[in-house]
């Protein structure tokens, strides 16, 4: 956890989708295609707006997330990547990731993406059963997903992630096992396996609330998860985060920035940033985001300086909250939190900062200590992974230190 880091991660949000999935609560929209051109200009503009503030930083990772970034026209992708290289100091070995839906990944599009310098794809496969994909309202079928992965290989991508969802409503373990086995046949470098979460505000949530669907049985989901951990370990994948596995050295460097509580800049509608000690987020609605960027750019052009009008709000976490955030994020990682590094950063060890919570959960068996020489670390036990919220709530400052 380097504290003096001048490294920076860039996140670019593409909020457009051809159709919104029932379980998705991300800042994404269908039917806003007409805003795409204006949005591209705004995002380029925001890259310009931030450039002066990041002069001392080296960009190590760039991540295009969404929404559906793979919907973005190749010429726009080219414009983004060019603008980033032009305005920012980008490390030569930087990780350039893009989230993609199988539906858009034609051979031609893939080669075009490769040519822009994108070197990692995260493919939203979710399931390899057609009926489950229909239930999830995904726009592709299993065959198309497999084809997309093969096409990506052929186009020269050697760093692929597949996003999979388990614990689907009514899904028997065997069905999930089948999806994962077939995914393994494609030898991705990275796998994100998420338990389906019924998020408030989603179409799925209302179906559950109305009793049309039953929320997945937590015990069944736990069975799926435990099997997944064993199976992927056997297949040579290392679990490095609650929901993420990778071949050694293929961890997603961009996501590690979040979990290490290191700085990142999120650009685009609704994107989140952690920069100069402040956590903040842009305006969600794409049209209002575009207007705000336009206004900021005009102001900058006339007065030479100005406000970043696209920022909707944020907080400067106080010391207690920063420590809690660092623990909560860091414990998501299987390596856990190094007491030494934590002490260097915050001036106290985790045991000094959270004496009760740590003692309590060493006793409940959700936390464990990895003694030196392996790092003097605190981490979640295998059981603690699935019960991590029980630990996290005890780490929160009391009363909550929110200064919104």
């Amino acid at each position: 956890m380097p504290t003096q880091s001048r490294d920076l991660a860039l996140y670019l949000h593409i909020p457009f989708c051809t159709s919104k999935c029932g379980y998705c609560d991300f800042n994404s929209y269908e039917g806003l295609g007409h805003l795409a051109d204006g949005y591209t200009d705004a995002l380029l503009g925001e890259l310009d707006l931030w450039a002066p503030a990041t002069r001392d930083f080296t960009v190590r990772t760039v991540f295009f997330g969404g929404g559906t970034p793979s919907l973005t026209a190749l010429e726009d992708m080219r414009a983004f990547t060019d603008r980033i290289r032009e305005r920012y100091a980008v490390a030569p070995d930087a990780e350039w990731s893009l989230e993609a839906n199988p539906g858009e990944l034609t051979r031609e599009h893939l080669e075009g993406l490769r040519a822009t310098g994108i070197n990692r794809l995260s493919i939203g496969v979710q399931s390899l059963h057609d009926d489950e994909l229909t239930m999830l309202e995904r726009g592709h079928n299993a065959a198309r997903a497999i084809e997309a992965v093969r096409a990506a290989r052929a186009a020269g991508f050697d760093n692929l992630n597949m996003d999979l969802i388990f614990g689907l409503i009514g899904q028997p373990l065997a069905r999930w096992q089948d999806t994962l086995e077939r995914a393994l046949e494609l030898s991705p470098e990275h796998l994100s396996c998420y338990a389906l979460t019924v998020e408030p505000g989603t179409a799925l949530y209302y179906q559950v609330a109305k009793g049309l669907l039953q929320e997945p049985d937590p015990d069944v989901v736990a069975d799926h998860y435990e099997w997944t951990r064993k199976r992927l370990a056997r297949a040579g994948y290392r679990q490095y985060e609650l929901s993420n596995w990778a071949r050694p050295g293929r961890e997603c460097r961009h996501n590690l920035v979040y979990w290490h509580a290191e700085p990142y800049l999120g650009l685009g509608a609704g994107a989140h940033s952690f920069f100069t000690g402040r956590r903040f987020a842009n305006i969600d609605a794409p049209n209002r985001y575009i207007e705000a960027i336009t206004a900021s750019l005009e102001e900058r052009a006339t007065s030479g300086t100005g406000t970043l009008r696209q920022i909707a709000g944020g907080e400067t976490p106080d010391a207690d909250t920063q420590r809690a955030d660092a623990m909560i994020l860091g414990l998501r990682l299987l390596e856990g939190v190094s007491s030494t590094e934590f002490a260097v950063r915050f001036g106290v060890t985790p045991d000094e900062a959270f004496p009760h919570a740590i003692a309590k959960h060493l006793a409940t068996g959700l936390l464990t200590r990895v003694p030196p020489p392996h790092g003097d670390r605190l981490r979640l036990t295998p059981r603690g992974l699935l019960l991590s919220n029980e630990v996290f709530v005890d780490l929160l400052p009391d009363p909550p230190g929110d200064e919104r």
Partner: protein, 605 residues
């Protein structure tokens, strides 16, 4: 005013028979309330009363009425609650009156409680004016109901007034009847002051306000006063009447009803039922004439947050001032910490007290399961009274336990008698007698008044709801304490994670203990959320386990996805979880929601 021109009266009725609407209408007709200030059910001033559509507290109002004889009369109405739980409030109000209007619904006829109120009024020697109300309802049978009043209570047919509080029909006639039939107050204007305190409330500026009916003498607002029994001396801050808002007057004469602001800040210094007199030349004999409230149900009230114990104590004291029927004493529970054992008139009263404490005083409370008061003879022959399961001695230390029985009066159409017999059997009750109310019934079926003896503990939970559902809503209920009888009861203990939880214990009939225990642990298994370890829940009597269930350990509580760097939001989700946990009570290391303590109430289906 000349006492000959004063009439003090009250309205008694079964719940929902239109008492509050009738009061509203009289306020209208006498011009006490201007049309534009109107708000339905003016006298139900508590939010809770308007919401529940019932009267909880007695209220008073002064009206001026020019009668047919051309003279102006002062009519003081003291409104009363209709629900059986609050009959105590009724008796207090009646003690301050010379007459009462008896309101009976033209469709429903005499109900169990109508009779209870009539007997109470008769005991106090009040003049009754029978009114058949709601005569404009499509289902109204005014003639038949009038005949019931003649047959059952013995009114003269000519006394009965037919009215519709809704349309205004008969209201003038009622007002005239009050003037003509209700005796005027007969106090001694020149005797030393004696005024009956029939209610009280606390005002932050004026201190305790006592609501009084002046019997002898007068109150002029200048002379120092004193409460006869409590021996509290005070200088009145102001004297006034209810119009219906507080309105200051220079004097309250013998026979009049009004209030005195005492300036007293200590809520214990004034008690309802006390007699106000002058400090000098004081009266010696206190007034009497209302029935002391008897608690029927006892339950523990605890602050969810133990720090709120002093606030709860203050709140109970304030409430007591306004609700003399509430009794309490401090108790402590290993599970819930410090709280109060409270005595209530019934379950509705308990619910209302809890709601008032939470709303009016901003408290968050945990209530334990209600219990009745048992008499216990110990093995050594000594006697004790037990109103809390925790206080019941071990079985080998008990010679005998006696429980309270009530005499239950139920009015219902005769075809439901069979259904009610079943309910009475299930509740360990005994048949006493059956009486036909309407001898004259020709068409349709007749209504009966059924009388039973039932253990009080059996009617506390769900009895009224069962009665209603088994009679399609036709039955009505009244009960009063009959006496104590030997009972075979045991304390059912509940163990959570191996430890007995005093606040979950219940006293149950020994023969039903196993079944109750089984139902209780299974209800608790649903109510107690999964913890980080298996939590056994057991029911036991004297160490013998009767039933067991297990709350399986939780396996999953995780945020699978970390939303693209939205750490603030993730923290908020966790904060919400944390807040949820904080509302739980810790029993050892087990988190238990407040509802669990009322689980015993949900056992009957």
């Amino acid at each position: 005013m000349d006492p000959a021109r004063i009439r003090n009266f009250s309205i008694i009725a079964h719940i929902d028979h239109g008492k509050s609407t009738l009061a509203d209408r009289m306020l209208d007709v006498t011009g006490t309330i201007q049309a534009r200030q109107r708000q339905d059910q003016v006298l139900d001033s508590m939010d809770l009363e308007r919401e529940k559509g019932i009267t909880i507290k007695a209220q008073a109002v002064r009206m001026l009425h020019r009668a047919a004889d051309g003279l102006e009369y002062q009519l003081n109405l003291i409104d009363t609650p209709g629900h059986v739980d609050f009959s105590y409030e009724v008796s207090r109000a009646l003690a301050a009156c010379e007459g009462a209007i008896l309101v009976v619904d033209a469709a429903q006829g005499i109900q169990a409680q109508t009779l209870a109120n009539v007997y109470m009024a008769m005991e106090l020697d009040l003049t009754l004016i029978p009114v058949v109300n709601k005569i404009d309802l499509p289902s109204a049978e005014p003639e038949r109901v009038a005949q019931e009043l003649v047959d059952v209570i013995g009114f003269d047919p000519n006394e009965i007034i037919f009215a519709s509080a809704k349309s205004g029909a008969g209201i003038e006639e009622i007002l005239e009847a009050i003037v003509a039939r209700v005796p005027h107050p007969r106090g001694e204007a020149n005797a030393p002051l004696r005024a009956l305190v029939f209610d009280a409330k606390y005002d932050a500026y004026k201190g305790v306000l006592v609501y009084v009916r002046v019997v002898d003498g007068h109150i002029d607002g200048r002379e120092p006063l004193r409460l006869l029994q409590e021996r509290t001396r005070f200088d009145p801050v102001e004297v006034g009447v209810f119009r219906p808002g507080f309105t200051v007057v220079p004097r309250l004469e013998a026979g009049e009803v009004g209030y005195v602001a005492t300036g007293l800040k200590g809520v214990n210094e004034a008690r309802v039922g006390d007699t106000v007199t002058t400090d000098r030349n004081a009266a010696t004999e206190p007034l009497s004439g209302y029935r002391e409230a008897k608690s029927m149900v006892y339950a523990g009230l605890y602050p969810s947050n133990p720090d709120q114990y002093p606030e709860l104590r203050d709140a109970l004291e304030r409430l007591k001032l306004n609700d003399a029927s509430l009794h309490w004493q401090p108790e402590s529970s290993a599970a819930l910490g410090f709280g109060f054992r409270c005595g209530f008139l019934g379950l509705l009263h308990m619910e209302i007290v809890q709601e008032r404490l939470e709303r009016e005083f901003g408290l968050d409370l945990v209530a334990t399961a209600p219990s009745v008061e048992y008499e216990v003879t110990r093995s050594d022959g000594s006697e004790m009274v037990v109103d809390s399961p925790a206080a019941l001695p071990e079985p080998d230390k008990i010679r005998e336990v006696r429980e309270p029985w009530v005499r239950v009066n139920i009015t219902l159409p005769s075809r439901f008698v069979g259904a009610i017999m079943g309910l009475i059997d299930e509740r360990r009750g005994e048949y006493v007698k059956l009486e036909y109310l309407d001898h004259a019934a020709v068409e349709g079926e007749s209504r009966v008044l059924a009388e039973y003896l039932v253990p009080l503990s059996e009617i506390l939970v769900d009895f009224y709801d069962q009665l209603k559902s088994r009679t399609s809503g036709y039955a009505s209920l009244d009960y009063h304490i009959e006496g104590y009888r030997p009972a075979k009861v045991s304390r059912l203990d509940i163990l959570v994670n191996g430890d007995p939880v005093d606040a979950l214990s219940a006293i149950v009939p020994t023969e039903q203990a196993t079944e109750r225990g089984r139902k209780l642990v299974s209800a608790l298994r649903e109510l107690i959320p999964r913890q980080l370890f298996d939590v056994p829940i057991q029911a036991a009597i004297g160490g013998r386990i009767l039933a067991r269930e297990t709350v399986r350990a939780m396996r999953k509580n995780v945020l699978a996805k970390c939303y693209g760097g939205d750490v603030s939001r993730k923290r908020k989700l966790l904060e919400a979880q944390k807040a949820g946990k904080k509302r739980m009570k810790m029993l050892g290391s087990v988190e238990v929601p407040q509802e669990a303590f009322m689980a015993v109430l949900k056992l009957r289906d």
